[in-house]
Symmetry: D2
Amino acid sequence: MIGIGVLGYGYWGPNLARCFGECEQTRVVAIADFDQAARDRAARRHPGVTAVATMAELLDDPRVDAVAIATPVHAHFEPALAALRAGRHVLVEKPITTSSGEASRLVDEAARRGLTLMVDHTFAFTPAVQKIAELVGGGEIGALHYYDSTRVNLGIVQSDVSVVWDLAVHDLAILEAITPERPVAIAAQAASHLAQRPETMAFVTLHFASGMVAHINVNWLAPVKVRRTLIGGSKRMIVWDDLEPSEKIKVYDKGVTLTGDRDAAHRLRVGYRSGDMWAPRLATTEALATEIDHFAACIASGRTPLTDGLAGLRVVELLESAHWSMRQGGRPIDLSLERKAS
Amino acid sequence: MIGIGVLGYGYWGPNLARCFGECEQTRVVAIADFDQAARDRAARRHPGVTAVATMAELLDDPRVDAVAIATPVHAHFEPALAALRAGRHVLVEKPITTSSGEASRLVDEAARRGLTLMVDHTFAFTPAVQKIAELVGGGEIGALHYYDSTRVNLGIVQSDVSVVWDLAVHDLAILEAITPERPVAIAAQAASHLAQRPETMAFVTLHFASGMVAHINVNWLAPVKVRRTLIGGSKRMIVWDDLEPSEKIKVYDKGVTLTGDRDAAHRLRVGYRSGDMWAPRLATTEALATEIDHFAACIASGRTPLTDGLAGLRVVELLESAHWSMRQGGRPIDLSLERKAS
Amino acid sequence: MIGIGVLGYGYWGPNLARCFGECEQTRVVAIADFDQAARDRAARRHPGVTAVATMAELLDDPRVDAVAIATPVHAHFEPALAALRAGRHVLVEKPITTSSGEASRLVDEAARRGLTLMVDHTFAFTPAVQKIAELVGGGEIGALHYYDSTRVNLGIVQSDVSVVWDLAVHDLAILEAITPERPVAIAAQAASHLAQRPETMAFVTLHFASGMVAHINVNWLAPVKVRRTLIGGSKRMIVWDDLEPSEKIKVYDKGVTLTGDRDAAHRLRVGYRSGDMWAPRLATTEALATEIDHFAACIASGRTPLTDGLAGLRVVELLESAHWSMRQGGRPIDLSLERKAS
Amino acid sequence: MIGIGVLGYGYWGPNLARCFGECEQTRVVAIADFDQAARDRAARRHPGVTAVATMAELLDDPRVDAVAIATPVHAHFEPALAALRAGRHVLVEKPITTSSGEASRLVDEAARRGLTLMVDHTFAFTPAVQKIAELVGGGEIGALHYYDSTRVNLGIVQSDVSVVWDLAVHDLAILEAITPERPVAIAAQAASHLAQRPETMAFVTLHFASGMVAHINVNWLAPVKVRRTLIGGSKRMIVWDDLEPSEKIKVYDKGVTLTGDRDAAHRLRVGYRSGDMWAPRLATTEALATEIDHFAACIASGRTPLTDGLAGLRVVELLESAHWSMRQGGRPIDLSLERKAS
């Protein structure tokens, strides 16, 4: 039984506490939050769990084997580092840190100490993303041509981070989960439609060496909620609508076939193919429960988590590059040069 | 009664011929097409109309007061110029020409001779776009924040022009129709997912001095047809779904209100407003019929058409800039500099 | 080449004339309509076709081998009978006649003379209904449990026939096409919401000996157009939404499995099964063209049409029984007794 | 502060306990369930609340001023009667009892003792139904023409009550809430598609003296979940889709206008009107919380609840009549005669 300490009992912390409580390999022993009202809520809902104020207090508790950090992003790095230094396994909310430098230090610390460091890219554990990854990995889709996501709604306009750090981060984490390929260039156009606030809408485009393109449209000031991703492949195409209650994923046997023309090699015939559509049944398991089981299993076995610190680091690197592009009006950033330089 | 000659009887020409035939101010006197089979079809459907092969023959016919040109885009400029030189009014398919240089020459020629030159930006005459223009112009939406359009489907992959010239041109023409503001920068990311073909998907972003952003997502290789535009304003927001049979336009009384905080001027309070939705009834008139009535009225009165040659020129300039950006991997193009330079 | 005479050139007649004109086995030789304006339209669109006023004139024309009747329903019987007596094959709009007595006389007359008598149940020839019939016939759905159709919109309120004769007739014809089973009871509830008009909404329920139930909800005064049918079977279920542009038919691998419980035979375990959904590709052929090819092939070969006079008769019998039930406030009519009596 | 005892802690009981706990006028003092596991769950979630096994124990507790009964329907009557006899106010799950005789006895008992008896017709307290009631009551819709509801899904097939008692009961309760008019006739067609189980699908039709018709289509074995009601009126029409996340209610300014024709009084002109659509903003309050506030307010003030025992009785009478009709193959039942007889 892995003893868990949860830091942060605001919006997401209660979900973590509930799921850690339901997992058979873990039990919540302590919950920390600076806010007295949050501690009171935690105590009411989790009788028998110690409610404290700080990570330091969690780390003083010898029953705490691992910590889950659900504080605002600027308050991820220090408690995570402290926990690793105190020999605890760590699960951190996404994005893992506010900078790639910080993320690297966490990755190094965890590696040096042989501890499990995992980032809470929850979408990677949804039945929908796992099905997409399975279809892509199994070759059903063919070569990936594009990933085109729209993630907009009338959302909470944050005062410290842009819509890219709040919403586009999901798509960057999903891309991590469905393809091993890394982007070679990124560009981001953005605008703020509220005075003195970070960007409220953004369009992020990623290019991959294979020719694949990813496009992410995020907006906090949209009249309707849209969570729709089109995924194009050389063999089939996917429409993923995460708001659909039952058929979130539709696989279309549609596409184009190029036929070489013997007499005129320079002219290719384009044939259109429009076949059946198929909506695979998805499991109804809760993503966070799957993720927490995985965290527990990685701690027990020493295996590398699907969404390890490096995945968190790569996502933060892309967020940084996206912001660098945004600051220059959308100039594309060559990521291959960046990597060589580093 | 204005005598009309139609050049090109392929995909769009028959629609022009039909609508000019039904308009009370015009009559079709001759139809020209290089292809004998097309001429035969024209003759069968329009008994009494002369079927010829070339623009030259149309211009030899003294009954022809105006010509409508529905040939492929590379075959717009020469016949249009010939017609203007022969003193005929001209309606040209969109985009007006393949280059801004050609478009300028047509605009100059028409102006010098006092002839009506109009580009067939059909969407500008749809009840939906006219309603949007009315709402925006009447102040119902407030300051425009964004225009975000998705225009994708499994479409005919063309061999000579990219998806930007084929699909994004619609959105550029619609922007012309709903706001007088001109963009100051443009960037376009694109990719081709078919060997030896022009770009099959593209993302075009336009920035305006007011802070408004337009984003256009076009794709010939999408599994589903989407024609959806979100329009955000400081007062209200619009969702325009052109595939909806009856409620194409929905106006949302939703948004965000900033409230100045007396004691802390640097901190603004964000208030969320979520009110009623309203779908105005749209006229059921055919856009092309409205457009042709307008063309006839402009010829008769000497008024400048809503979609005059200059509108056509501006759209072609943006298409050129978009391609210039695409060729440089999406580098933003400063349009204000361009204009100063010219 | 079968020479065709078309009677009635109002709403549907032009479609018949066009499709007979495009069919390779038939040609339209004459069109009849009482109305001079209709004859003028016919002459303009079909140069070379004789335009006359009456069925008698069509029958005087020796080139006419078969007639298609597209007059209002009260004007079906007499011209159809005259045509059969004159040795012509007959295609009649649905419903075939205003009474089963008339329908029987047409069936007898055609049988006696060895002529083809077909009713224009167009839906039976749509790719959607043909796919459903194929799935049902091939056992994919298992035993049919129900057919539940909603067919409502703001439609033309007719002054002589009720919504049952106008809309429910489609579902009765579709049932004819997808199952050979005949109903044993029918009930219909109806109401008129317009003074001095026939019923504007109705609910028709049919019971079959196998336990299958069909339910038909029709309404001329609905705010939205709905054309949706749920079909339940012991193995799979179908949702047919005829307004969907591309995925009209969805097959759900969903249902309930009864498991006998050894120790308590009177208690059955209900197991719920929720599997994949599948939308088969449908042909894009026009139903009326398929139907007219079939009519021509039946004339040529002497085969019995899929929608022969007997199918038309059975549908009219059900319409009569539905009205009989409506007149008695919805009292169920035992159709097995009716049949025995006759 | 009204002390509440909750009987039954299975599916719905926990919701009642939670909402009574959150209401400022009530507090939960005891929860009763025969099942030890249910009592354990209740004790865990509601520390400080007494967990007992029976209604008798609840009634022995002097802190219990009112009871909420969330047992299966066959176990409503006896505990409700006992509670009233013990001088407690009562809230009962829908349907109130299994027979109108039982419901009458509860109504009488509560009246005699001056106690509040309320039935938990939750839908009557949803923002959607309250908005519909407001629109109908305010004359916005005009005379009600029809209420046409589809309430189907792959639902739990119950072993003791039919789909009419499980699902159609909602629509009968909603009708209670939106119109004071009482039906004069009812008919119900039904079928069971599972051996040895109650009816799994049913069509219930109600006629009202004004000409209004209500139609209720319920089915436990449908492949998709539908919760859609069309409401037609002489002035406007409503589409209520309860599965829509944000625009559950749409009001259509559509309809038909009859124009008297002076010269031919027997011929009325039908004019079609198709205007705007409007989706009013709905409150986001939870129906059950609204209902419980109402229950508490009625206890405090002695006012008659919106969904009092008589409303519960009327709904049960209709359920009984529907079943009587079902047993006779759908024969319409004249409710006006029934009432006179009683």
